[in-house]
Symmetry: C2
Subunit: 297 residues, 2 copies
Amino acid sequence: MRKDAVQQDPFKSVSIIGMGLLGTSLGLALKQRQLAEKIIGVGRAGSPSLQIALKRGAIDVARTNPAAAARSDLIVLATNIGVFPDLFRAIAKGLAEDTIITDVGSTKQQVCRWARDLLPRTARFVGSHPMAGSEKRGPEFARVDLYSNAVCFICAGKAGRMELAAQRVEWMWQQVGMRTLRVKPQFHDRWVAAISHTPHAAAATLINLIQADAANLLRAAAGGFMDTTRVASGDVEMWTDIFVTNHLAASKSIRTFVQLLQGFERAIRNEDRTAVREFLQRAKTIRDQLPQRQGGG
Amino acid sequence: MRKDAVQQDPFKSVSIIGMGLLGTSLGLALKQRQLAEKIIGVGRAGSPSLQIALKRGAIDVARTNPAAAARSDLIVLATNIGVFPDLFRAIAKGLAEDTIITDVGSTKQQVCRWARDLLPRTARFVGSHPMAGSEKRGPEFARVDLYSNAVCFICAGKAGRMELAAQRVEWMWQQVGMRTLRVKPQFHDRWVAAISHTPHAAAATLINLIQADAANLLRAAAGGFMDTTRVASGDVEMWTDIFVTNHLAASKSIRTFVQLLQGFERAIRNEDRTAVREFLQRAKTIRDQLPQRQGGG
């Protein structure tokens, strides 16, 4: 057995900070597959989430101080991204040398920058973005299979010690059913700007477009509209964090989207059947090749 | 019993022109509720649709010449809109005085204009737009309940004779499960531009936006993206007809959509948390109030 092989045994202790949909679902999945001997859940004092997570068996112990996570084998940040700086500072002090830190945040450049700036130099941070979720939030919607058959992006440094940490994190996500995909933070943020943030911006805009006529229009909304705008029901704070932490890539992607759409609008305005058909045909051809729906979010 | 009361008895004969999803589903629904003594299906020679519709019991008789429909009590145009001018000309000659003509087309101004210009002066045309459908096309996907619990827009003139025809058409749609909503063609086209055509344009654009990176991105596409872009799989010819026949309202609605989205993009670019949150919150509040998914399309 090579000395630097990736550990494949369960974690002795895992701390999950944030008992929302993602954190609680991860606890359930780790428990079911016996991937952690002990799971510490960290949540806000006074919020019912911790008790729900305990009752559902997603965690063994409930804590309200993030510093309690500092000595676990693995720490997973599962709050909104906006809270990450405070959390990094809270765990920085007592951090054990071998502790691996990861997260489930939807943007990666800003998060990796915070980890670099706020954690000790020797800290082993690996960015994760599991492409799973739902517009439903909270531990009551947690599912043991939330992470099954979806992709998890992994952002990690190249140094040997970091590489082992990255492989350990990849192993964990694979154990709960994900396909992992290594990517640089800036590429990640550009990708999710195109496949997640711009669709979200479009969905929210479609809703705000009909606002004035809402009363009349609501009754007539057909399934297509409901599907196209479903993500606009997503958690507002979470999405505000996403757009703000990924503002460069998101705004660039939206501007490209607008340019494309304006070209299509011109074709419509000019009654240019050929151009309209060509635009729709290109989209249909690609859309028909997409794999069937996988996971949530 | 008032002399001008709306007939509530079954049609002696109904002709449905176009044996796609909508036409075949209507045949099935009329049959199930015994609303037509005889249903004539009109389709293209050589296409298997007519035989499928016959075999599924959606029609009693198969014809390939639209002129065969001219003497029915009710004629329903259920082809793509682009074929309507030819169909109006074909049925215009032998049209019986009491025949009511309607359609299932997704835009109404252009269709009502064609009806006025191409049918005899005395013809009783009532525009219908059942907000039902699916990105799946063809008689093999037809369902007896396709029209249940969805809205049907009705566009009709005000003259007494037209009013009775409109009520008869409304009665028919209500019998197959729809809620009817009377609306002027120009209002209809503005509404559907906002709730159907602009979402479709956005979905197609979202797909074309990722085209270059498609190979990498396809694996990572999460459920949100799949939902948001589902309608982009819709029939290309049908949607080309829709955008071209509704080009004024559709292009205006898309331009308003672009302006709204550009405002949101500016807020993101400026990292204006308050404006980003406010935009998302407004959309979520409205979206959460929308009724649950109803019918298809």
